[in-house]
Amino acid sequence: MSWSRDEMAAKAAEEIEDGFYVNLGIGIPTLVANHIPADRDLILQSENGMLGMGPFPFEGEADPDLINAGKQTITELDRTSYFSSSTSFAMIRGGHIDLAILGTMEVAQNGDIANWMIPGKLVKGMGGGMDLVAGAKRVVVITDHVTKSGAPKLLKQCTLPLTGQGVVKRIITDLGIFDVKGEGLAVAEIAPGVSREQIQKATDAALLAWPDKELA
């Protein structure tokens, strides 16, 4: 048994401290917003120019002038502010975003991340990804532990073109939680029912340490 996507998102939500300004990437990271503990408050940034992003609009209430970075229609909250793209990335690049939670194709034991292009395949572009990983105070990755074909995604070294160098601090997968330690990953938590051997087999990156207490 490993963690579901919602359980991974819930684990990532524990990263969030009260009052944090957070940017959530597309995919599993968007689920994080559903798992915020009740005693904590977070402000979501959307890099197209908004702080205080609200949920999707009710049917018939969508506003063409109000979208998120995935170009989906959204809503505003009573704390929302709007600003230009340059100001939005001033926040990101200047280290004002407390936490960015992103998906990835590959992540390496030194914190390198590759999540924007596969050579030979059609390239869509890095969007704001390179800015986010370089600028946010803390970058956490949520990803399946292996690719659809079963290949490890937590690597000694990325094979795909990088999005950022040495930027990821923590990796949350369906099998566990991993902290980047430069020369390898320290396993911070193991999903229930998952064995050390299972993780070792599914991981290319060096595993330097294991949690004192393992959930079984």
Binding site: S46, E47, N48, G49, M50, P55, F56, P57, F58, E59, G60, E61, A62, D63, P64, D65, L66, I67, N68, G70, K71, Q72, T73, I74, E76, Y82, F83, S84, S85, S86, S88, F89, A90, I92, R93, D112, L122, V123, K124, G125, M126, G127, G128, G129, M130, D131, A134, G135, P161, L162, T163, G164, Q165, G166
Partner: protein, 236 residues
């Protein structure tokens, strides 16, 4: 006072669209995109354009109008997904593409407009985006040198303009528009509403009129690219 308000988008671009020029176009996808002006730019027939825009339009919308006529020689963008026409042109070698991280792109437009010839950022260090560019350490952290972009023409979309060219944007339709309004030597704004001078609270103006040379009423309806809604019943 020199008149900034033009009767239609065609007039607003009269005499300022030339082959080979660099054009900035605001908008994030279709949101805050100057659709009427892009259409009018297509109709000028100006070719070999370098287009600076976060996206390349969607199929049949925005810069795709200029892609389908072959007027664009090169795009500088952060994301060109959602656009099959662009893919085809790019894969066939008919168009040049310079990827630029989204934040770097916005900053380069602002920098060009602000007389900042170049700036150092951590964004993209160690990636293909830094290849061939100067890397310099500040406090031991490597940064890459990026340059400001000045466009011959910037096309922007705002909600309201007054007769002096002062602009107010609405919600996330603001995005790249203020940065590109600065980055254009000639900036033309397309707006939902044109009001007399003095109608706007001077503390609410997002883009001062000095950055805007021409203003025109928008004639194309706002469009939604990815309608995403939730049901009222489920939520309650």
């Amino acid at each position: 006072m020199k008149k900034k308000v033009f009767g239609n988008a065609t007039d607003a671009l009269a005499g300022i669209a030339t082959d080979g020029m660099t054009v900035m176009a605001g908008g994030f996808g279709l949101c805050g995109m100057p659709a009427s002006l892009i259409e009018a730019l297509r109709d000028t027939g100006a070719s070999a354009l370098t287009c600076v825009s976060n996206n390349a339009g969607t199929d049949g919308e925005g810069l795709a109008l200029l892609l389908s006529t072959g007027q664009i020689r090169k795009m500088i963008s952060s994301y060109v997904g959602d656009n099959k026409l662009f893919s085809d042109l790019y894969l066939s070698g008919a168009i040049e593409l310079e990827f630029c991280p989204q934040g770097t792109l916005a900053e380069r437009c602002r920098a060009g407009g602000a007389g900042i010839a170049g700036f150092y950022t951590k964004t993209g260090v160690g990636t293909v985006n830094a290849e061939g560019k100067e890397i310099r350490e500040f406090d031991g952290v490597p940064h890459v040198l990026e340059t400001g972009i000045i466009a011959d023409l910037a096309l922007v979309k705002a909600e309201i303009a007054d007769e002096d060219g002062n602009l107010i944007y609405r919600k996330t339709a603001r995005n790249f528009n203020p940065d590109m309004a600065m980055g254009g030597r000639m900036t033309v704004a397309e707006v939902e509403q044109i009001v007399p001078a003095g109608s706007l609270d001077p503390d609410h103006i997002h883009t001062p009129g000095i950055f805007v040379q021409r203003v025109v009423q928008s004639t194309r309806a706002k469009r939604i690219e990815k309608l995403t809604e939730r049901s009222k019943e489920v939520a309650q």
